[in-house]
């Protein structure tokens, strides 16, 4: 399956260039189609399951009836229609968008920092979001979730502010040394966490709400939240996809990349900015869900190689599928109770990841 690690076979030395290219690329399109099929499957299963037991045919009818000119909902109770369209579907879609955003950001962070342990929360997105949300909660401002909601906005602002501060602290003239960025991120994250805890202790009656933000979940997913995340996640995703080849070159050290013509500083800022934006949007809509941004890119890399032109699209697809699956488990395994999805991602993600590590013992 994977070419890396096997000695070149004689045909390669005589192979024509196009064949070499093809064998290097692997089969991206078939893999993407396979990934999309898996994504469609898990989405369908997720749509079909829930506290209200709705038969699949009715679900299909409800979904199709939202196409213009189609109405097959004659026998379907209105309550079910609302549940499928306004409760389950936004939930599945939001989980997918958030999973894709977090995974994609993680892959980009890992590429820019040249560090397999990097995740989207490395330079302060998570702790900044938690602090922003806590400030709103503790200040007593109202925060309803059916429409205009202060909490996600505060989380978003907190996340972005944190990243900007980290960047400002780490900057040396025109450059942002990667190690300094990480250190500044760790330091400011700790500070943000300390302030968050301090604020929480001032008013302990709201700890549950703050924990919801920190642990994350899709229990209150709405179309509005999706509309909120997409304008950040999609452009950021496009940017990251376009820079796939450049990200490959960045895996050399920065001097070498510069010698090969890459504008390293501008590329770093652009990619980190895009990744942080997508991560901040994801966190503000769904809380700080751990492991997705770390494990999914790794798993994809271990299975299909480090070329970011393949890694990024597959990471997006599999990140979405992974989180949709995790959310499905989080909301059905202990009905009617809702388990924080971060626990599920850790539980499912880590053993799978350990298994992959064992298989690829040589690669790392």
């Amino acid at each position: 399956m994977k070419l890396i690690g096997r000695a070149a076979t004689p045909p390669l030395t005589a192979a024509e260039a196009p064949d070499v290219l093809r064998s290097l690329r692997g089969r991206l399109w078939p893999r993407m189609l396979g990934g999309l099929a898996a994504l469609a499957l898990i989405s369908t299963i997720s749509l079909a399951m829930g506290a209200a037991e709705i038969p699949i045919e009715d679900i299909v009818r409800i979904l199709l009836s939202h196409l213009p000119g189609v109405d097959m909902t004659a026998d379907v109770p209105a309550a079910w229609q609302t549940i499928v369209w306004d409760v389950r579907l936004p939930r599945v879609l939001l989980a997918g968008v958030v999973g894709a955003s977090l995974a994609m950001s993680g892959a980009t962070y890992q590429g820019v920092f040249r560090n397999p342990l990097a995740d989207p929360y490395l330079i302060g997105v998570a702790t900044g979001a938690a602090l922003g949300a806590t400030i709103v909660v503790v200040s007593g401002a109202p925060a309803s979730w059916n429409g205009v909601s202060l909490l996600p906005m505060a989380a978003f602002v907190g996340a972005i502010t944190s990243v900007v501060l980290v960047y400002g602290v780490a900057r040396v003239g025109n450059t942002v040394p990667v190690t300094t960025l990480i250190l500044a991120g760790v330091a400011l994250s700790s500070l943000a966490t300390a302030i968050t805890w301090f604020l929480m202790l001032q008013d302990t009656s709201n700890t549950l709400t703050v924990f919801s933000v920190v642990l994350g979940g899709f229990n209150t997913a709405t179309w509005t939240k999706i509309a909120w995340v997409l304008p950040y996640a999609v452009p950021a995703g496009v940017i990251m996809l376009l820079y796939g080849r450049t990200l490959n070159v960045l895996s050399l050290d920065e001097d070498q990349a510069r010698h090969l013509g890459v504008d390293v500083e501008r590329t770093k800022i652009l990619l980190l900015g895009a990744a942080s934006l997508a991560a901040a949007a994801a966190v503000s809509a769904a809380g700080t869900i751990a492991f997705v941004g770390l494990i999914v890119p790794h798993a994809v890399r271990l299975m299909w190689g480090p070329d970011n032109r393949q890694l990024l699209p597959m990471t997006i697809i599999l990140g979405a599928a992974f989180l949709i699956g995790a959310d499905l488990i989080a909301r059905t395994v202990d009905e009617p109770q809702e388990i924080p999805v971060g626990i599920i991602t850790a539980f499912c993600g880590v053993p799978f990841f350990l298994y992959l590590l064992r298989r690829a013992r040589g690669a790392y």
Partner: protein
């Protein structure tokens, strides 16, 4: 200045110098002090020639290289690549004129050798463009020249230090630039590969008309494969010219502060430098 006249003469014959370093000084800041690592150094590289940059540790060789590749700004003088001042060139323009083989290059373990060599084609690819057949051909040719084609699909993490070094050289060759800048290109290589690599570099210079600036640690190797040498001491040019006149015993003893023995290679008659038993 004699150097400028000589350069001008050579340029008249062969076109603009691939690399021109003219009266360059480079400063480091250490706290509040400014340390001049390179003082008023001039050199040039023309097409088809290999210029060796030699000198003791700390003589400013690496600093000079960094100034040439744009990593450091000179505090005085100017540096030109193919007639254009380095600081006026964009990153990609610079990358199309000079390819650098650094010392101790950090290389990703997971990519294959071929993928790393293909990264050398980056300056020739537009932003959204991917590698095409001719890029693979350039890579294959470069890898066959450096005897690394049979490592093409092996992951970099599996290769030995010497193999990795040859892959980096292949990458520089695939970058297809008129000028090559090699920083200790033979550092990890065994004697067989040392000769092969430098021989390859010479051949490419001759056949493809490239110019090479090589920082070489080993004086004998430098003499064997370079057309001319520039010897640095404490940031200044201590001697320059052809190998015989630069690698003279008195000059070397003054610059390196140790006794050496210089004699002629039995076949090529070029200087061979060996350390003498310590008595100085």
């Amino acid at each position: 200045m004699a150097l400028e006249a000589a350069t001008a003469a050579r340029s008249d014959r062969e076109g603009v110098a691939l690399l021109l370093v003219d009266g360059v000084s480079v400063e480091y800041r250490r706290g509040s002090r400014a340390i001049e690592a390179v003082k008023d150094v001039s050199l040039s590289v023309a097409a088809g020639e290999v210029l060796g940059l030699i000198g003791p540790n700390g003589s400013g060789k690496t600093t000079l290289i960094r100034a040439i590749t744009g990593g450091l700004k000179p505090s005085a003088g100017r540096i030109e690549l193919g007639g254009e001042e380095v600081n006026r060139l964009s990153q990609s323009e610079r990358a199309r004129r000079v390819a650098v083989v650094p010392q101790n290059a950090v290389l990703p373990d997971a990519f294959s050798a071929l993928e790393v060599v293909l990264m050398g084609r980056t300056p020739h690819l537009r932003f959204l463009q991917d590698e095409a057949s001719h890029d693979v051909e350039a890579a294959r040719q470069a890898m066959e020249q450096t005897s690394t084609w049979d490592l093409a699909l092996r992951a970099m993490g599996e290769l030995s230090g010497g193999e990795r070094q040859r892959v980096v050289l292949a990458r520089a060759l695939a970058q297809d630039t008129p000028l090559l800048l090699l920083d200790e290109p033979t550092a990890h290589l065994d004697i067989g590969h040392q000769g092969a690599t430098l021989g390859l570099v010479r051949r490419i210079c001759a056949t493809e008309g490239k110019g090479v600036l090589a920082v070489v640690h080993d004086l004998t190797l430098a003499a064997q494969y370079c057309d001319r040498l520039v010897l640095l001491k404490d940031g200044e040019v201590a001697a320059e010219g052809d190998c015989e006149s630069t690698l003279r015993q008195d000059v070397l003893e003054r610059v390196y502060g140790a006794r050496v023995s210089v004699f002629a290679h039995p076949e090529t008659r070029r200087p061979v430098v060996a350390p003498s038993p310590d008595g100085a």
